[in-house]
Point group: C2
Chain length 247, copies 2
DNA sequence: GCAAAAGTGTTGTGAATACACCCATGG
DNA sequence: CCATGGGTGTATTCACAACACTTTTGC
């Protein structure tokens, strides 16, 4: 396969390429997939939606939800399509994380994949995941998966840990109305770290991004907590710009 | 082109795929390139290394340094290869940023590209860039480029702004020995923001990651500043783990 | 009244900010 | 001696961390 130096020497320096289509036809082509890491939160545990691998070499192992990218399909669209096919939902938080390209990552030959993270509220789509091949798995309990999917999951989990500290992603995993306790449980589960309850509440109170909906928890065997929803509009308006060296 | 539902219906549910190679052969294939955003720093200005596009439709426009990914080549390797071909250097800071996949981003048809950022010290490789098609361009002065490269550059520039505040990347753009003034100029150029000189020095002093090499600047028309080098070993040992909500 | 979690305030410490003067060097 | 930028210190403000008691509800 030609690399750029060889191609460049095939036409005179300074001479312009008139037919880009012919040029592109000389490029090697690779099979490209998107793998979605669908995170959810249930019973105070961070979970990920997995499917049993249908490859015999990975017999019994779990894999991420992936599919090949279609002709002329944007990667974002491919990820949204997979999400829709699996959960029936659209308008879901979804973000590209990174590409994985180890030549031997797929037993069927060279396949490059682009990992996407999505955070979904498990309550909101329980209907579609009755398919017995799909399963919400505790993130912490996984060690081995099909392909390089464990590596991808680990990377996305770290990405999520960092991301959730700087952006209000967590609210996508919670019900629209949630208690402070639920919010804190979510952060503790994702960060895998205990947080001081008073300081946590103080922090969110001082941000002024939670709206008290004047409702309280129901059916709890103790004093019910107040419910809040997140003020996405205010957040979008006041997004801060970071200046500050910190490492 | 088949998507996953169609493929899945072509073999019985529960039946395992025995020949992954045949499966992969059914995947659509796309031309894949890597584009390197090579940042440099000179005359207190952030620059990027560009080449004149050799496509006629982009006549006169500048483009990033890119090349197609070779068969069985890792993306990281492709990026390093391009870097080596263009600057003659290896062991350079290089990181994958994200993929760009708009179907019409390349006039020759569907080409997906993965953007990499690299930070290089302009002084260290002046020899190889005498090629008249290569040029260090001020990042701030660019508005229009070939392909979607202006979009990629803008994205990478923002990525760099964030990254440099949390990781000691900046030192890759400076000479091994540098003055506090040079360091601050670099940060101000990248962040596009003035910083208080005393607080900047205090911050870096308190981190304890700068080694005083007991040398001073030369040939400056004023009191010469002390020179430092960055203590990469100490940084690697003490890398901090972030816990803290901030948005 | 007991268990269980909600709700709340203060204090200390360290970091970021704002700000002004003297010093060393070259010309 | 003058111009230029190097080098330093302090006071204030703010954010974070640590920490304990009272309140409300279900049972």
């Amino acid at each position: 396969m030609k690399n750029i130096s060889q191609r460049m020497s095939s036409h005179k320096a300074g001479e312009l390429v008139k037919d880009p289509t012919t040029l592109v036809e000389t490029y090697p082509k690779v099979p490209l997939t998107v793998d979605c890491v669908l995170f959810g939160f249930e019973e105070n545990v961070l979970k990920v939606l997995l499917i049993r691998s249908d490859l015999q070499v990975f017999d019994g192992l779990w894999s991420l939800l992936g599919d090949n990218v279609l002709d002329n399909e944007e990667l974002d669209d491919a990820a949204n399509r997979i999400l829709k096919e699996r959960t029936g939902m659209d308008d879901i938080y979804l973000e590209q994380v990174r590409s994985f390209s180890h030549p031997a990552r797929h037993p069927g030959g060279r396949v490059i994949t682009v990992a996407y993270c999505s955070l979904i509220n498990i309550q909101h789509h329980q209907l579609k995941i009755l398919d017995h091949e799909l399963h919400w798995h505790e993130v912490q309990s996984l060690t081995k998966m099909a392909f390089d999917h464990f590596e991808i999951l680990t990377y996305c989990n770290q990405w999520l840990q960092k991301r959730i500290q700087e952006h209000p992603l967590g609210f996508n995993l919670l019900p629209v109305k949630f208690s402070m306790r639920e919010l804190q449980n979510l952060y503790e589960a994702i960060l895998n770290h205990q947080l001081d309850r008073r300081n946590f509440r103080k922090k969110f109170a001082s941000m002024g991004l939670l709206i008290d909906v004047n409702e309280i928890e129901d059916n709890v065997p103790h004093r019910p907590g107040k419910l809040y929803k997140f003020n996405f509009e205010k957040y979008e308006k006041n997004k801060r710009n970071w200046i500050g060296i910190d490492f």
